[in-house]
Amino acid sequence: MTIDPADTFRQEAQDLFEQLEQALLDMEDRPDDLELVGTAFRALHTLKGSGAMFGFDALAAFAHHLEAAFDQVRHGVLAASPDLVALALAAKDHLRGLLDGSASADDPAACALLDRLQDVVAPTRHRSPPQAPKADGLGDDGPGGAAKEGGEAAIWRLKVRLPADALATGTNPLLLLDELRDLGPCTVIAHTEAVPVLDAFDPSTLYLWWEVVLTTTRPRGDIEDVFIFVRDDMNLSIEPVAAASDKRLGEILVERGAVTQAGVEDALARRPRIGKLLVDGGAVPPAQVEAALAEQAHARAPAPAGQRRPTGQESIRVSADRLDALMDRVGELVISQARLKQLVAGHEDIPLKAVTEEIERLIAELRDTTMGIRMVPIASLFSRFRRLVHDLSKDLGKEVELTTSGEDTELDKTVIERLNDPLVHMVRNAIDHGLEAPDVRLAAGKPRQGKVHLSASHSGAQVLISIQDDGRGLDAERIRARAVEHGLIAADSSVPDAELFQMIFAPGFSTAHEVTSVSGRGVGMDVVKRTIESLRGTVEVDSVAGHQTVVTLKLPLTLAIIDGLLVRVGDGRYVLPLSAVEECVELTSEADARSRGRNFLNIRGDLVPFLRLREFFASPLPAAPFQKVVIVSDGDLRVGLVVDEVIGDHQTVIKSLSRLHADVESFSGATILGDGGVALILDVSHLIEIGQVRDEIRKVS
């Protein structure tokens, strides 16, 4: 049963009429009883407000006049005279008529009533009639609506100072900034100068203010409307910025009133870095220069698509070797910085510590920028397959449609390069073994043309690449037979299909019926798997017999440097990729004792299997008194790793292990620590596998 609010209102209105009538009748005896006046007022107030909401406009309009009268009574401007009460009672009957439709707004009687009411009501305060009101500033489209699009884009400079209690009263400045972003590209500079030391810090007080440079096609009013609720209490300035995109920093500072023209000229005379000179000279606080620089950058930023000017300065070609060299230098810098951090850790020198932290931040940014430079859209790789698919389909007499998605997904260029061969192999496989010949497809009720779909997408710190075909799918029975033949499984074992499918990655495993000219040339899925694993990725295959096969590669975004968590296990230090770490918990002695022989932990009601890395690594030292459990995850699977100590964050420059350690599966690489020591990087997916297997064993036994 759906409830129509209008029906609810009708019922409610009947109650309100009763209340109103009762109050009015009592008022005849007790005209000074404010309680009665209040009741009458509220009844009329609700009739007006709710009536207008549910389409009873005439009733709302009429109630408004009566409400205005009783508001005056409430405030002592008007007396609850018998005349007024009589008038109100008559008006109430009219309202009732308006509700059930037996009366209309232009009844002569109603007009007479209104006139009399107008006579009674003191003309001191004029109230606007209720027809027009709307939520101020919130147009029918609401904020972010598509209204008023298409004007000329203008650049505005905003200074946004909210009241200090804005947070406490429920205003979220971030949402306001987000709303500004909805209006157009924004550069936001936060001013943190007023943030006090920690001891004096009140979390519910707002210490920040913002400068925003906004490019928008919307009128100024739309910008103001963002701040509608706080407009009266805040300090907001909105100024247009001339669109000239190559303004000098000094000009911007003068325009912003941060410094005088003379000051700029004085500094200019001394050249070359005006911002630095002004700061050093004490003419301008650094935050001001930073803000001006951000504005300059915003104005210089390439215009949105379509307006981009064809200049030759937007990109330059750099040889890949130089990028690699740059990455190596950054890697060395990160390692040196780790050493510096460790040296400084033992000092009490505050300025030294501050500089070290600054350097750490800068290096982290440099690292991110450098890695960003190395990112290449996967489109460059996908586009190579058009030709391959075209040639293959001719050679094999199959009709193939290649589709791609997520070409914009970016990956480290090294990863892209090394992905080429595995992808070629898998696309060949899909067409050669996966897709059936056209007549076979028709016989199976499928379209003649087979489909191969290549897709790429982001998933957290990983990129997923999948190759999907709508061919015959994997033959589970055939794979089972081959697996038995290879001694991978016992002849009578019942292995689920999903696990069988993964066996195609085993070395030397091939189920192709015959060796064609295309596939089966010794490069098997095991090579694919090895290549992907050398990129710290994983590969999985899924298939529906007769319908499709999907091979999914999961790859890390970059190979070079990751954020890691450094832990100690016995005498060794190890790094866990921070992206895989969910949380760290204490291994309480009770949990420790309870878990003996069970190897799973209760994490908020979930049973999580865990590995004691000390035992797993056969560490010679005794366990620390308070061991920690680091919960790591890979997809849905989780495992707890028991370590002796969690040392902390570590920017990890990944060094691959040599072929001499190709057989060691627990580690995906190594890194150099601040003290020059070497820490191994744990291979989380492998450890999770082991944890899960042990969990299985536990369940079985």
Binding site: D571, G572, R612, F617, A670, G676, I690
Partner: protein, 167 residues
């Protein structure tokens, strides 16, 4: 084994392993380090059971005593690490080679294996490049390439393989 014959000499680095003197081709040796902190690699074969930092590179550390069937005592003040370059599956790779002692860089003259039945018998012949003669002493020059031959290594029975501890 012995491809250089006659009077030709070979420049070698001589080193001590379990009280015996061996040599390796000096051209392979990049540098010689005193003992530095090393990192154990749990689960790795004991021949290459650890890693070390050599000028910002992570380098595996090999203990030739394992391959030669010698007793592996802990490092002493005399222990050294020879940083050498070997070819692994066609890729030049920097590795560290642990020695109980490093004596000198010297030249040795070739000697025929037949002259040294005692030495020839004691060590796996495929690990011996040749026998060098220095004065009256014979020195075994190790065949470093074979020492690191992965096929060889993975084929070898291994006692220190990682075991899943039973739950």
């Amino acid at each position: 084994m012995s491809q250089w014959m006659g009077n030709r000499t070979l420049e070698v680095v001589t080193l001590g392993l379990d009280g015996e003197v061996f040599a390796i081709d000096a051209i392979l040796v990049h540098e010689i380090l005193e003992m530095v902190p090393i990192t154990r690699v749990p689960g790795a074969r004991s021949f290459v059971g650890s890693l070390l930092n050599v000028r910002g590179k992570v380098v595996p550390l090999a203990d030739p005593r394992v391959r030669l069937g010698m007793e592996c005592r802990p490092p002493t003040i005399d222990s050294r690490i020879l940083v050498i370059e070997v070819e692994l599956e066609g890729e030049p790779t920097i590795v560290g080679l642990l020695a109980d002692k490093v004596f000198e860089v010297t030249e040795v003259a070739a000697a025929a294996l037949e002259e040294t039945p005692r030495l020839g018998m004691r060590w796996p012949p495929h690990l011996i490049r040749c026998v060098g003669k220095r004065g009256d002493d014979f020195i075994i020059v190790l065949e470093i390439g074979r020492l690191f031959d992965n096929a060889d290594l993975f084929g070898a029975p291994e006692t220190a393989a990682p075991q899943l501890l039973s739950a």
